[in-house]
């Protein structure tokens, strides 16, 4: 099928180009770490950058490809973080190998967030547009409140949990895992840059391959015209749910990776601001533009760090730069400039 290959060549070029660029960046950074030419603060940001990249790519599936605005994406990150870290702590003795434990925890985080996405999707996906956005915002806040009031402990007798106040009554030698507003403390930092790279590649493969399949076509058809999509037999609710759950599961894995990079994690970290931050990555990178999301996530995570020398004016400068970048990106001149690089890319 030469024809098929011809038709899809530009799409494939974009996809393989993205894989290649991410791999190259990973290798360069690994070399810099090996030669100690990367500052300690930058080294510490590598894993969060990977997590934010996955967050941006997964949100782009809902916002850019499916065309529904979700303002609660940090909620799924939170579910993934708490369930994944709890899983890592529970498995600490059973699975001594850190990379295996990390993989299992991310899997558990993804599964939990996917389930949360499914349950939240049932009421949310009955809505459209602004209403859907507001309700996802509400669910993001609900998830935050739930984890702020959730207590989970483990002792010889097994797992204990309680809500609102700590009534787990652990036996001697037991360990508190999730401690309400205090979150999870004493986490072993098993997240590595290599794992982050692997997760970014998995997220890219899932999203790219899904977008180029019958599922992706259905998502984009619903985005472009829901009534026409239904008239040719696309069940809008079903496909919206698929996109929503896949996106939530990827966010959950990213949340777990993110949390396992810190020694403590609290629910308030995954609030509305984080949801908006991820949305900013998506909008800045371009809706439906997956490589754009990666670049935006990396750039906007590094930027505040680079502005540290401006001390008190740091966030002000960050905001001004963000406005400047948004304006610049949408100017006709800049668009023509970028169009030259895209060449055959279909937009």
């Amino acid at each position: 099928m030469k024809r098929l290959i011809n038709l899809k060549r530009s799409e494939y070029r974009l996809m393989w180009g993205t894989y290649a660029a991410v791999t190259l960046a990973f290798l360069v950074l690994q070399a810099m770490i090996a030669t100690r030419s990367l500052s300690a603060s930058m080294r510490g940001m590598l894993v969060p950058i990977c997590a934010y990249m996955v967050m941006a790519v997964s949100l782009n599936l809902v916002v850019g490809v499916l065309g529904e605005l979700s303002l609660g994406h940090a909620g799924f990150m939170s579910v993934g973080a708490f369930c994944g870290v709890a899983c890592a702590i529970i498995l600490q003795k059973a699975v001594p190998a850190a990379p295996v434990r990390l993989a299992l925890s991310m899997g558990a985080g993804a599964a939990a967030a996917g389930l949360a996405g499914f349950l939240i999707g049932i009421p949310v996906l009955r809505l459209r547009g602004d209403y859907l956005a507001i309700v996802t915002l509400a669910f993001g806040e609900i998830i935050k409140s739930v984890f702020n009031n959730f207590y989970l402990g483990m002792d010889k007798a097994g797992l204990h949990f309680s809500m609102l106040s700590d009534t787990t009554g652990l036996l001697k030698g037991g360990r508190m895992i999730i401690n309400g507003p205090m979150g999870i403390g004493g986490i072993r930092k098993i997240a590595t840059f290599g794992a982050g790279f692997a997760l970014v590649m998995i997220a890219l493969a899932v999203v790219f391959n899904l977008v180029h399949s019958r599922y992706g076509r259905a998502f984009m058809a619903i985005r472009d015209d829901r009534i026409a999509a239904e008239s040719v037999g696309i069940d809008a609710t079903k496909y919206k749910m698929i996109a929503f759950v896949v996106s939530a599961a990827l966010a959950g894995a990213a949340g777990c990776l993110f949390a396992l990079n810190y020694s403590t994690i609290v629910a308030n970290k995954f609030d509305f601001n984080t949801s908006i931050l991820v949305l900013v990555f998506v909008v800045l990178g371009g809706q439906g533009n997956i490589p754009g999301s990666l670049i935006a996530a990396a750039a906007l995570t590094v930027l505040p760090e680079k502005l540290r020398s401006f001390a008190d004016y740091r966030m002000l400068l960050y905001a001004v730069l963000l406005i400047a970048i948004m304006l610049g990106k949408n100017s006709a001149g800049a668009r023509n400039f970028f169009a030259r690089f895209r060449g055959g890319k279909e937009e």
Binding site: M1, R3, L4, N6, L7, A205, V206, N209, L210, H212, S213, R214, Y215, R217, A218, M220, A221, R223, D224, D225, I227, A228, A229, E230, S231, V232, G233, I234, D235, A236, I242, E346, E347
Partner: protein, 279 residues
């Protein structure tokens, strides 16, 4: 589902079992009332398995509403719609499409950011059997069915000689081509009843005559029932075997093109009543 017509190469090859069978569409006493306003009432219509039927009437007569009732964009408030003998009461637009109704829209509704071929392939989504795992892992079944879907899409596009535009964004096509693409997309869900809402709107006379040829060719290739709304009388009289005239939501005449052209009620609806003294 098993009764759904499959495309066959020529009209002579329509399966025997379908030829003598009951009509594809039966509307019985169909009605839609919104807030006490009767948009459509007492709509009775029967369409044969391979018939080309026309639905005409002045602006605001309720023609598109009838299409919206048939495709369940609106649920009828009275009467019933039988598709292939099956009552479609309570079904969703998706379900009636799977049962065999496909349509085009008066104001073009393409997936503008998708390529021409992808627009057609969207309509095949339910016929492509690979699952999520195959698509994410790019298993051989993904590739096999994608190649098959692309081949079928190009074949359908070639009916309207559009296969060379397959990779262009649908929104970039000229107006007439967009209308034709809507017809191809509707055909891609392999309907047994095709509803065309003003297919010739905005076309010049020569484009309209081309469209007539194209619809005839579609009808040769796919021996399905076609129902069309159109204001271009030339097209309607040329193409349709039976015509139904609607005015203020009611059927005022039904019959062959010749009957309709000489029907005083139809002339009155279109041109108004002549004054007594002038007669």
């Amino acid at each position: 589902m098993s009764t759904r017509l499959v495309p066959v190469p020529s009209r002579a090859l329509i399966p025997e079992r379908d030829m003598g069978r009951a009509p594809i569409l039966e509307c019985v006493n169909l009605g839609l009332t919104i807030g006490g306003l009767k948009i459509v009432e007492n709509f009775d219509l029967t369409i044969g398995r391979t018939e080309i039927a026309g639905l005409i009437g002045p602006n605001g007569a309720g023609k598109t509403t009838v299409f919206n009732l048939l495709t369940k964009v609106y649920q009828p408030t009275a009467g019933s719609i039988l598709l292939d003998g099956q009552d479609t009461a309570g079904m969703s637009p998706v379900q009636v499409n799977r049962l065999g109704i496909a349509r085009t829209f008066q104001n073009i509704r393409l997936f503008k950011n998708l390529s021409v071929a992808d627009n057609v392939k969207v309509a095949m989504t339910n016929d492509i059997p690979y699952g999520m795992v195959s698509s994410v892992l790019r298993l051989p079944s993904y590739r096999r069915w994608e190649v098959d879907a692309h081949r079928r899409a190009l074949k359908l596009l070639s009916i309207f000689d559009m296969q060379d535009a397959a990779s262009l964004p649908a929104g970039s096509l000229p107006y007439g081509a967009q209308r034709r693409l809507e017809i191809v997309r509707a055909l891609a869900s392999y309907p047994s009843l095709l509803l065309l809402d003003e297919p010739a709107a905005g076309m010049n006379p020569s484009e309209t005559m081309e469209l007539v040829d194209s619809i005839r060719r579609v009808h040769e290739l796919f021996p399905i029932a076609i129902m069309l709304i159109e204001h271009d009388m030339n097209l309607v009289m040329n193409l349709c075997e039976g015509i139904c005239v609607l005015n203020f939501g009611r059927i005022i005449a039904k019959g062959t093109p010749d009957d309709i052209q000489n029907n005083p009620a139809v002339i009155e609806a279109y041109l108004g009543r002549q004054k007594e003294e002038e007669q």
